[in-house]
Symmetry: C2
Subunit: 439 residues, 2 copies
């Protein structure tokens, strides 16, 4: 296996032969064999071991075992102990997600601070890939879940994907490599074990060369995935535009896509939407209907779907001196005294300076806000005004209010208040301009 | 199960409730349960049983069993006996392919002659789909092999795909349905049996609801396949054009496609090319290199790939009277006597009528052909002439020769012969026009 490993490296991972890397090592069969292979192949690397403190004594023994092995092999070791359960509770994620996040965060720190370590190398092999494939097949995954574990992503390299578990076991035996049973706490452990010990051996027995052919299938699927990505790039450009931090999808354009569900799935998957039937229904529902993913909100508004991040709104208020408005404001306002009014656009407000208090405040509108819209005889609720203006819920939620004391001066970008307007008797005119940003 | 079957029918196959169909029935568990379900659901149908005569006595017993069952159920039965082995030998296909071809040919005949039978219904179920998926995964298939067995194609319907083998077994037991062990002679029988009895039960045990989730995955993959087809339609139009029965692919356009292999695979798969590495090499090889599939030939010619059917050439000759040339000729020639020459294009020939024999012949060129090209002082080999003209091998192979007796009058569409040209002393001019066809 050492020769096969070496020739695989020079064919597929020449970068690992020329520079130093970090090898993620749990102490289990896979990573111990990889460590020995790398050592025997004369590569330059260091070990990184995460102690997730999930199994008491056993975690300590794993750590000790990795350290001893590293000493024996005369390799530098990095070891870090994590409060995985604490992190999981604090961030409301699964133990598995927590371990994954902690591990890669630390690896990134290590490769950033020790910049001779150019790559992170993991011991995933062909059987892992098949297990993951079958797990995802049993979850109803689409193509994206059935594509392979990539041999390279960013600075991560997986040089054992071309080898089977049997290859590793055989090498461990001939090279007398010791390892510790990998009693990981992954939630898929039970499932993985049954796949590993029952399903996959049966598959291999039923169909000769199954693992290699599976690898070919996965390469095909990777290619198919790439084609779909190219296709969807074009579709995305055709059906959407960006406006003020919101992605706007044309519903007539979406309706023209066939098959609809597959297109919707691809368009909105990256935003965390997995229920394509709900997306399909959204197209046909009335204005104001919304579906949410863990990270995003998607709103039907007339003949568009509006997509934006689910971020909690900071509603303000922010107080500011009109002579120095930009300091600390969430939006970009410029204020200048001018000799006369020019035609005011929606993003420009002219006011009678002397009607204003010294300090202005900016905030999101709230229930119960009233103002006196210019051109309207009397008072109007801001919420009613915004609704009548035909704004989408997203635009309504983010509408800004400029106040002088408790009085609304401007529903920013929409309508000025009558009480502060420039009149015949105005002596000083302030021009306030809102610089809209795309972000 | 009967209720589930009925509601599945009305949701997904309403067409089967309104019209009569042919149910393909081997006598095995799946088709016997389907026959009983259809009877119990009050549908109108007839049975079709193929006796492939592959297992001697057992084949006869299967046939007898289906006939008895049909009598009991008071359903009309169609039974046909086939010489499957003879067909396989004669057509040089596998027994399995032969059985498949014979079966569908007969079904088509039946539904064509008995036109109250609107559909062909088969008993494929979810476990069959999973078996086929795993078999193809173990063959390195791409997306096209991993997409589902379709519930409907043309006039075939598969209403049991939503049900598992356990569902069928349970119904067979409660409804006391008898069946005969399906000892099919398929080449995948050994593999299917191991998948059926070892792998799939282990998968189902490892992962609850596996079969349903697998169904979801397959629906996703079907959607992905549809996206790729839409994408490839556009790519195909961009990189290819049709010329005279040959598909011409621009190599610079093919080179611009990334990832190249996935694109080549999709572009040429339908023409029987499966070795995408060979296709990749062809792009980079010298003019004249060719790869073949069972059905097609793909030729590199300069900066193009030329694709055409692998059909044996009929080389001729065809003799004809120049006054009535179209009769029976493989190409479209028109002949007329004209008063004078106009500027001759490549597809038009002017000759001195009195230099010709009464009967002309048309044929493909052959080795050893010589002629006297106009404008050239002397004799030239046709093969050398065509090569010097820069023709691709495909164009060379299909070049036509017009002869008068043994002498070449015209390398059709390329060059006239000096001996028959119109001169000062010509009294009668014949104009021969070749009408090029796109096909």
């Amino acid at each position: 296996m050492l020769e096969a490993f070496k020739s695989h490296l020079s064919a597929a991972f020449p970068e690992l032969m020329g520079s130093s890397f970090l090898l993620a090592c749990s102490g289990g069969l896979d990573s111990m064999v990889l460590a020995h292979l790398c050592k025997d192949a004369g590569l330059e690397f260091e070990l990184a071991h995460c102690n997730f403190n999930l199994r008491g004594e056993a975690s300590e023994s794993d750590q000790e075992f990795v350290r001893e092995t590293a000493d024996k092999l005369r390799i530098k070791t990095h070891i870090k102990s994590f409060d995985t359960i604490g992190y999981a509770n604090q961030n409301k994620v699964s133990i598995q997600m927590a371990a994954r996040a902690l591990r890669y965060e630390w690896f990134d720190q290590l490769t950033a601070s020790e910049n001779h370590l150019r790559y992170i190398v993991t011991a995933h092999h062909a059987d892992d890939a098949l297990e993951t494939f079958l797990i995802n097949l049993g979850r109803g995954s689409g193509l994206e879940g059935l594509c392979g574990i990539p041999a390279r992503t960013a600075n991560i390299r997986r040089p054992l994907l071309a080898f089977s578990r049997e290859d590793l076991e055989a090498y461990a035996e001939t090279a007398r490599i010791a390892w510790r049973e990998d009693a990981s706490n992954s939630e898929t452990r039970y499932l993985r074990n049954r796949l590993r010990h029952e399903v996959i051996p049966a598959l291999k027995a039923a169909s000769g060369g199954f693992l290699d052919q599976f690898g070919n299938s996965v390469r095909h699927l990777d290619g198919s995935r790439a084609l779909i990505e190219r296709y969807m790039d074009g579709v995305f450009r055709k059906v959407s535009r960006e406006s003020d931090g919101v992605l706007v999808f044309s519903i007539p354009a979406l309706r023209a896509l066939h098959p609809r569900e597959a297109h919707l799935h691809e368009l909105f998957r990256d935003y965390g939407f997995t229920d394509w039937k709900a997306l399909g229904r959204l197209l046909e529902s009335e204005t104001g209907r919304e579906v949410q993913s863990p990270t995003h909100r998607l709103l039907k508004h007339r003949d568009e779907l509006l997509l934006k991040h689910r971020v909690p709104l900071d509603r303000g208020p922010w107080s500011f001196d009109p002579h120095n408005p930009a300091a600390g404001l969430p939006i970009d306002l410029t204020v200048e005294e001018v000799a006369q009014m020019h035609r005011a656009g929606k993003e420009v407000l002219y006011v009678d300076k002397e009607t204003l208090k010294k300090e202005l405040t900016l905030r999101k509108w709230q229930k119960g806000d009233y103002f006196y819209p210019i051109g309207l005889n009397g008072r109007k609720r801001v919420s009613k005004f915004l609704k009548d203006a035909g704004l989408s819920r997203f635009d309504k939620e983010t509408a800004w209010i400029l106040c002088s004391g408790k009085d609304i001066v401007w529903v920013v970008g929409h309508r000025a208040d009558d009480r502060f307007k420039v009149t015949e008797s105005t002596r000083k005119i302030l021009k306030i301009t809102w610089q809209k940003k795309s972000f």
